[in-house]
């Protein structure tokens, strides 16, 4: 899609502000009524989903130019998709898609992405990861007691963050796989970034190159199934890749894999993990993980000015994310008591890290993680659990900054603990 193809949709925004809040019916309190960390932090309407759609429209119509402030508007959005869930409660509009297209247009115009993004994109191109770490050190987390099988058609795609920053997640995932007796291989130092940080900031051309090259590598090595412990990688491989590169590789997230292992009794959660936990739905495993279903059909005017799609066009509302698997796993860990926050599932509040915000707008990203932590604390849980190394990194920083007494764990870590540390 191009911005032009969104024109009618952008012109149809009602400026109603529903996209600043979780769907209105599920609001339980004033404190936790909002969905958009960006408008919460910056306050000008331009920083909401609807506001950004208006900015996109103004740009497309040639009313405005890409100023420094406008670029901040475009890029201080975590691309979390919350606005779109709330908007689609009523309208057929896609603010989050329009924001993405606006970023693509900003890159095409040579103004975007932001300098910090450009820098990490260079690093991705040079080192295969946005942290600029040595590719050879990618598998450095691997411990001697983990067994991999290079002939396996199942790949554990570790991702840059678990490889270099949250190694404990990589270790836990590998150990769970070993305990379940499931063969898997790694790409080791040949693993490349999934392309998420590049794609999300609108450098679609480079992102597609990465996607193609990754799929080529997977095909060459005979990969039929990919396991990922990162929501961002999951989202790319499962949801975005098929839109740009054809592949029929099965993609599953660790939470789904663990749920399956428990069901099939491949692993047993026997050790007590006595803690009250609350679970944070990562945006890219939740609402953004709902696949795009290709649709072909006709738009038919059934009543004057009222159109429907024949056959009915699937609406990507966010209901089809991975919500139950992590919760089902948590509920089966002996000793764990799961309490929910007010904003969950498709109306979960973003951790603040995504969409390139953690690198370009660190103050905002940290502030958003604090917002979410406050909600987590309000449940009286002692521990916040999620299933994404990137959310985890942002939360850990948030916990430190607010001197919170909360602990943070990835789902895989608690599972491993309940398995007695794995084999």
């Amino acid at each position: 899609m191009t911005l032009g193809e969104f024109e009618d949709m952008m012109d149809s925004c009602v400026r109603c502000s529903k996209c600043k809040f979780i769907p209105q019916l599920v609001i339980q309190s004033k404190r936790f009524s909002s969905i958009c960390p960006s408008i919460d932090y910056y306050n000008f309407h331009a920083y909401s989903g609807g506001g950004r759609m208006i900015v996109a429209s103004a740009y497309h119509k040639g009313r405005v130019e890409l100023t420094k402030e406008m670029l901040d508007v475009i890029y201080s959005c975590t691309n979390c998709g919350g606005c779109e869930v709330s908007c689609k409660w009523v309208y057929e509009l896609e603010p989050n898609e329009a924001i993405h297209e606006l970023r693509v247009a900003a890159v095409e115009a040579g103004a975007g992405p932001m300098p910090k993004h450009k820098k990490y994109i260079e690093l991705v191109e040079r080192n295969n990861n946005p942290y600029g770490e040595d590719p050879e050190k990618r598998p450095a987390w691997l411990t001697d007691d983990i067994t991999t099988d290079e002939s396996s058609s199942t790949l554990y795609f570790v991702g840059c963050t678990a490889s270099y920053r949250r190694e404990e997640i990589a270790v836990a995932t590998a150990k769970i796989l070993n305990s379940a007796g499931e063969d898997f291989r790694l790409m080791g130092s040949d693993e490349m970034c999934c392309g998420s940080p590049v794609f999300r900031v609108g450098d679609e051309k480079k992102a597609i190159e990465i996607m193609k090259s990754n799929i080529e590598q997977f095909k060459e090595t005979g990969i039929e199934k990919i396991i990922t412990s990162c929501s961002g990688c999951y989202n790319m491989l499962k949801v975005e890749y098929p839109r740009f590169v054809e592949h029929d590789i099965e993609v599953i997230h660790t939470s789904q894999m663990i749920e399956e292992f428990i069901e099939e009794e491949k692993i047993k959660l026997t050790e007590k993990v006595p803690m009250k936990v609350t679970y944070h739905d990562p945006c890219h495993l939740g609402r953004m993980a709902e696949p795009y279903v290709p649709w072909e059909g006709e738009k038919i005017e059934v009543l004057s000015q009222v159109f429907i799609y024949d056959p009915p066009k699937p609406v990507r509302r966010g209901a089809g994310g991975v919500y139950d698997a992590p919760r089902n796993v948590l509920k089966q860990i002996p000793g764990v008591e799961l309490v929910e926050m007010e904003r969950i599932r498709e109306y979960s509040y973003c951790c603040g890290a995504g969409g390139g915000c953690r690198s370009a707008y660190p103050d905002f990203a940290l502030w958003a993680s604090n917002e979410r932590l406050e909600e987590a604390e309000s449940t009286d849980a002692s521990t916040l659990v999620s299933a994404c190394p990137f959310c985890g990194t942002n939360f850990k920083e948030g916990i430190e900054s607010r001197k919170s007494e909360m602990d943070y764990f990835d789902l895989t870590e608690l599972v491993l603990r309940s398995m007695g540390g794995g084999k």
């Binding site: 109603c16 309190s29 306050n43 000008f44 208006i54 405005v64 009523v90 057929e92 009543l303 599932r345």
Partner: protein, 527 residues
């Protein structure tokens, strides 16, 4: 652009983070739903972008608002404040205007359980306030614009009909007192606050200025800035330990319906019976909700997607639906519930009606009960085409509402036949009764396509015809009159009331800096 020194002076008040003059940011304030209709009515090319403010400021306190207003007077800058800013009346009309976005003033200051009022700041939304009132067993009146809009905006500046209007009235009726930054920057607190520290009444102890502050229609931001409002609260008919609880996943949520609640859709073959039943149902105070729309509207009320709404229409809903009233009996106790539901049945039988829910023609799910009391049903109308606008309608007696609906039908049909507005067979209306009495609100929501010039022009012409219809048939006062021209249009038949509005405007805003846009311009404007 504002002169550098003026911009810097505003910056000094709110801080750098809370002011902008970037054109892209400004455009998100210039863009408003229905600007295209107003443009078409003025003979301009229809578009959603209206006048761009020169700057937007985000104050956090009354003192900051006061300083901004004073500065505007000093430098001949027009200003317009808003809460959430939905609708063309929220935007500026003067090219030398700034927008005061009150988003950062968002506290619920007080809930007085005994005296049944709440004191709120501008950016508290209806859903937020409602969710904080349950623990007190209380509710407020929320305007039909939706749960995401601000009760302060409506109570101070609009008429404010809503879905619970039979029980809670309308916003204009429920404002008890305000803190008001006048157009020249003076602060005025209306009501009992300065006298007792309590806000239980909006009048006295001196003369009442409530009429000047908002009058019948409200001033749409044309007479200063309201920084606090005390609003009346009502008993919430559910046990205090009942909790607002939803489950499930979008779009089909579940909602815990309180114990003594029941919805009805009473259907009457003819308007005459409908009208009698509506009077009696209102008079007997049996229902919290009494809403009428087109049969097509009913299809949208109790479904969750456009596809479902359309399928319901084609499944035969229209053939079984005539003039109906969506009702919600919401009682505190079993005895009250039994009494009310019995009365509903008796009134229905007396006027030969039938209940479309009992007959399975329509089926509200539990979540639709929740959506009803959260004022979300109006939004469903957007599902058909992402856009509708309403005529200026009327606010008078129940029988006048019916008359308006009947007279409106052939006019609307004319534009439907031209293919420029949505086809609801001319029956698309919204009627709600008010305050368990003889009063009712009527407007004619109409689907049009904002991206199609013909449709915008068509809707604009339809609206003009409706205004003429009001005059020609003496259909009472519209609930919504925007701007000098429309006021002038009605003036002669209503004792030239706009002259008085202009005198008020001129006296309170001698420098003419409170952007009049949809209110009136003052007579003594010095500018």
């Amino acid at each position: 652009m504002l002169e550098k020194k003026v911009y810097e002076a505003f910056t000094k008040i709110v801080g750098e983070r809370h002011i902008s003059q970037d054109l892209a940011v400004m455009d998100t304030y210039a863009f408003q739903w229905c600007n295209e209709i107003e443009g078409a009515q003025r003979g301009e090319e229809p578009q959603r972008f209206g006048v761009r403010p020169l700057a937007v400021v985000l104050p956090e306190s009354t003192e900051q608002v006061q300083s901004i207003v004073k500065l505007c007077n000093e430098h001949d800058v027009t200003f317009k404040a808003f809460c959430t800013g939905m609708g063309p009346w929220a935007g500026v009309s003067d090219p030398r205007a700034i927008q005061i976005d009150l988003r950062r003033m968002n506290r619920i200051i007080e809930v007085d359980e005994k005296n049944m009022y709440a004191v709120i700041e501008p950016y508290v939304t209806n859903a937020e306030l409602q969710s904080e009132l349950f623990e007190f067993g209380l509710m407020h009146h929320a305007q039909g614009a939706g749960p995401q809009t601000a009760p302060l905006a409506s109570h101070t500046s609009f008429v404010g009909p809503g879905f619970t209007s039979p029980y809670t009235g309308f916003s204009a009726r429920n404002v008890l007192g305000v803190e008001w930054v006048l157009p020249e920057g003076e602060i005025l607190r209306l009501g009992s606050f300065d006298h007792s520290g309590k806000w239980f009444t909006g009048d006295g102890p001196g003369i009442s200025l409530r009429g000047i502050m908002r009058g019948w229609l409200g001033t749409y931001g044309g007479l200063g800035v309201f920084t606090k409002a005390a609003i009346r609260l009502f008993s919430w008919p559910a046990p205090k330990d009942w909790k607002w609880k939803t489950s499930g996943t979008i779009p089909d949520y579940d909602w815990d319906v309180p114990p003594y609640w029941q919805m009805y859709v009473l259907n009457f073959e003819e308007w005459e019976e409908y009208q009698k039943a509506m009077y009696e149902l209102s008079d007997r105070e049996v229902t919290m909700v009494a809403t009428t729309s087109a049969p097509e509207g009913l299809a949208a009320l109790f479904t969750n997607t456009k596809q479902d709404a359309i399928e319901t229409i084609f499944a035969g809903l229209l053939a079984k639906t005539r003039n109906y009233i969506v009702m919600l009996v919401a009682a505190h106790t079993q005895r009250e519930f039994d009494f009310r539901t019995k009365l509903v049945r008796l009134i229905m039988e007396k006027y030969g009606g039938n209940d479309l829910i009992a007959e399975g023609v329509t089926t509200p799910m539990p979540m639709h009960y929740g959506e009803t009391v959260r004022n979300m049903l109006g939004g469903h109308a957007f599902r058909f085409s992402n856009c509708f606008q309403s005529t200026h309608g009327g606010m008078d007696t129940i029988s006048m509402a019916v008359r308006l609906a009947q007279l409106n039908q052939p006019i609307k049909q004319k534009y439907i036949d031209k293919g420029v507005i949505g086809d609801d067979r001319g029956l698309g209306i919204w009627i709600t009764s008010y305050e368990s009495g003889h009063m009712a609100h009527m407007e004619a929501p109409t689907v049009y396509d904002p991206t199609d010039i013909e449709s915008c022009l068509g809707y604009a012409a339809y609206q003009d015809d409706c205004n003429q219809l009001d005059l020609d048939n003496a259909l009472g006062m519209p609930f919504f009159i925007v701007g000098d021209e429309v006021h002038n249009f009605y003036a002669k038949r209503a004792m030239n009331y706009p002259d008085w509005l202009r005198k008020i405007k001129g006296a309170f805003d001698p420098n003419g800096v409170s952007d009049p846009s949809h209110y009136v311009k003052g007579v003594e404007k010095k500018k």
